[in-house]
């Protein structure tokens, strides 16, 4: 049997993903809902809905608008806060047989740091008790920087460095930094993360976009701009992942518009260690399981036994 010898394992430091398919933050809740539809242990991992130190109601108004082969979202980090996440959702995570990633958002550096510390402390306790629930932190630096007039940390490398450095110091959990495609120079940003000791980077978050309701003569979104995701952005995402992979030595988790197994292979050939799948969950609720199977099918067809054979060949 060819299938039994396929090696789809991906690694970030000591964390092993059974396959490259990780569900992207914000599109998969904390996994419970999709977990009722299929077996989450088929997934390489899950990145949970972004959490922040304090609970957030998210943005008012319309939060989603479909665009050609894409969607704009303006959820605005609605979340119950880290404590509620740890107290209420983590018990579910303890029982999951897949890599569990907390996606950490913030507003001030202090919020980020305190959030990371809470997660870290909780993790220490659970680990001691043999019921670990979190394998990694994904630091989302696309959040608005209150001090820098609301401009996101994710835009300027110099501004982001502080938050990465401080969060790195605040936790011993593996740290993956999630980069924004709106960054001035995403490869620079990735290099900074490597310098500051991150175990990995993930990209891309959503592209800043706009939609105007021409009859009402105003933005569809109360927040003016919103985040573009889905197949429309894939060519841009793949290019950025390739650029970042050429720049850094740490593992890169690629995402943006993935909607079939070949898309995943493209990201891996561009150098990604693993991928994340977001919007496609809305197109196909079985996305995770089907894509994981699709990667194996592709490997079997092409006689690829380990993803290492094709990773970064471009």
């Amino acid at each position: 049997m060819i299938e039994t010898t396929l090696d789809t394992v991906c690694r970030i430091g000591k964390v092993a993903f059974k396959n490259p398919v990780v569900m992207a933050s914000g599109t998969f809740g904390f996994g419970k809902e999709y977990g009722k539809l299929y077996d989450l242990s088929k997934l390489g991992g899950i990145s949970g809905k972004g959490v922040t130190l304090h609970p957030r109601p998210g943005n008012p108004g319309i939060r989603v608008y479909e665009t050609p082969s894409g969607m704009l979202n303006s959820v605005g980090l609605e979340n119950p806060g880290i404590r509620a996440f740890l107290d209420e959702e983590c018990a579910f995570w303890e029982r999951l047989d897949t890599v569990r990633i907390v996606n950490l958002g913030g507003g001030t550096v202090q919020d980020y740091v305190e959030g990371a510390r809470l997660i870290d402390e909780d993790s220490t306790v659970r680990e001691r008790e043999g019921r670990q629930a979190v394998d990694m932190i994904e630091l989302n630096i696309s959040c608005p920087n209150v001090k820098a007039g609301g401009m996101a940390y994710g835009i300027k490398t110099s501004v982001a460095r502080e938050v990465v450095r401080e969060v790195r110091a605040a936790t011993s959990l593996p740290l993956m930094v999630k980069l924004s495609p709106n960054a001035e120079d995403i490869a620079d940003m990735a290099q900074m993360c490597e310098e500051e000791g991150a175990e990995a980077v993930s990209l891309i978050n959503t592209l800043s976009g706009m939609k105007i309701d021409v009859r009402r003569r105003r933005s569809v979104f109360d927040n003016l701009y919103a985040g573009l995701s889905g197949p429309a952005v894939k060519p841009v995402a793949l290019r950025m992942v390739h650029q970042v992979c050429k720049r850094v030595g740490i593992p890169v988790v690629g995402m943006g518009g993935i909607s079939c197994a070949e898309d995943i292979i493209e990201f891996i050939m561009a150098g990604a260690e693993a991928v994340q799948v977001g919007t496609y969950n809305f197109v196909n609720w079985q996305a995770g399981a089907e894509l994981a199977a699709g990667v194996e099918r592709f490997m079997a067809e092409e006689g690829i036994r380990s993803l290492d054979e094709i990773r970064g060949i471009l």
């Binding site: 989603v64 082969s69 969607m71 969950n281 809305f282």
Partner: protein, 230 residues
């Protein structure tokens, strides 16, 4: 994948699709529907209009690209259905009124079919459709064409009132409810834009008295006083 049994036009831009499958949908629940592969991207939420041994029915209005594609589909074609989703209407007690505006009448048929007593108020702006079907349920049916159907409903005469329709109608129902004796439990069915339909993405989130709820998995039916409409 569900095979389409029939898909017929019942009025200008209004269709009824019957899709095969064994579902156990409750009144007021909905499905995420798509009749295409990857384009358009998102599935379209449609309420359960009716359910029988063969499958489920949707009453829908052509509003844009997605429903247009659905309207072009024929018996034998396949649609993808995720559902039934949401909580549907709660159990009722006492005298009940079902009030629908336009395509908002869709979830009321299956609801009415399951109730012993219900007064139906159906409002249309341009053309009346499915009147015969609603009348065949043998509940009193009041039809309003071109007016404001809510004006016909005496909120103090009912214990339970369900309202489905465009947002201005839901706001009017909230207002009317607030100004009534408060005897009736008034419920509204929301039609927020959705992506996942199952409670995972928060794009359908709605402000409620006790914080935010998800229109898809906590709703789409809410108590009228509970939700904050924009």
């Amino acid at each position: 994948m569900a095979t389409i049994i029939s898909n017929r036009r019942v009025a200008e831009g209004i269709y009824v699709m019957h899709a095969k499958g064994r579902f156990e949908a409750k009144a007021g629940q909905f499905f995420m529907v798509r009749g295409w592969e990857n384009y358009p991207l998102l599935s379209r939420p449609l309420s359960v209009y009716d359910q029988d041994e063969q499958g489920v029915k949707f009453l829908y209005k052509v509003a844009g690209e997605g429903t247009e594609r659905l309207a072009r589909m024929k018996a034998g074609d396949e649609v993808t259905l995720l559902g039934p989703l949401g909580n549907g209407f709660p159990a009722v007690h006492g005298r009940t009124a079902l009030v629908g505006g336009g395509i908002g009448i869709a979830p009321l048929y299956y609801t009415a079919r399951q109730l012993e007593q219900a007064d139906l108020y159906l409002g249309f702006s341009a053309e009346v459709y499915e009147e015969h079907e609603f009348r065949s349920l043998r509940h009193p049916v009041e039809i309003d064409l071109g007016g404001i159907v809510l004006d016909r409903v005496d909120f103090d005469a009912y214990d339970t009132i369900f309202v489905c329709g465009p947002e201005p109608m839901l706001r009017a129902a909230q207002m009317k409810s607030a100004m009534s004796s408060g005897r009736a439990n008034v419920y509204v069915s929301l039609e927020n834009r959705m992506a996942c339909g199952i409670g995972a993405c928060l794009v359908c989130s709605v402000g409620c008295e006790n914080g935010r709820k998800k229109a898809c998995s906590d709703g789409p039916v809410f108590r009228a006083e509970e939700v904050v409409l924009a």
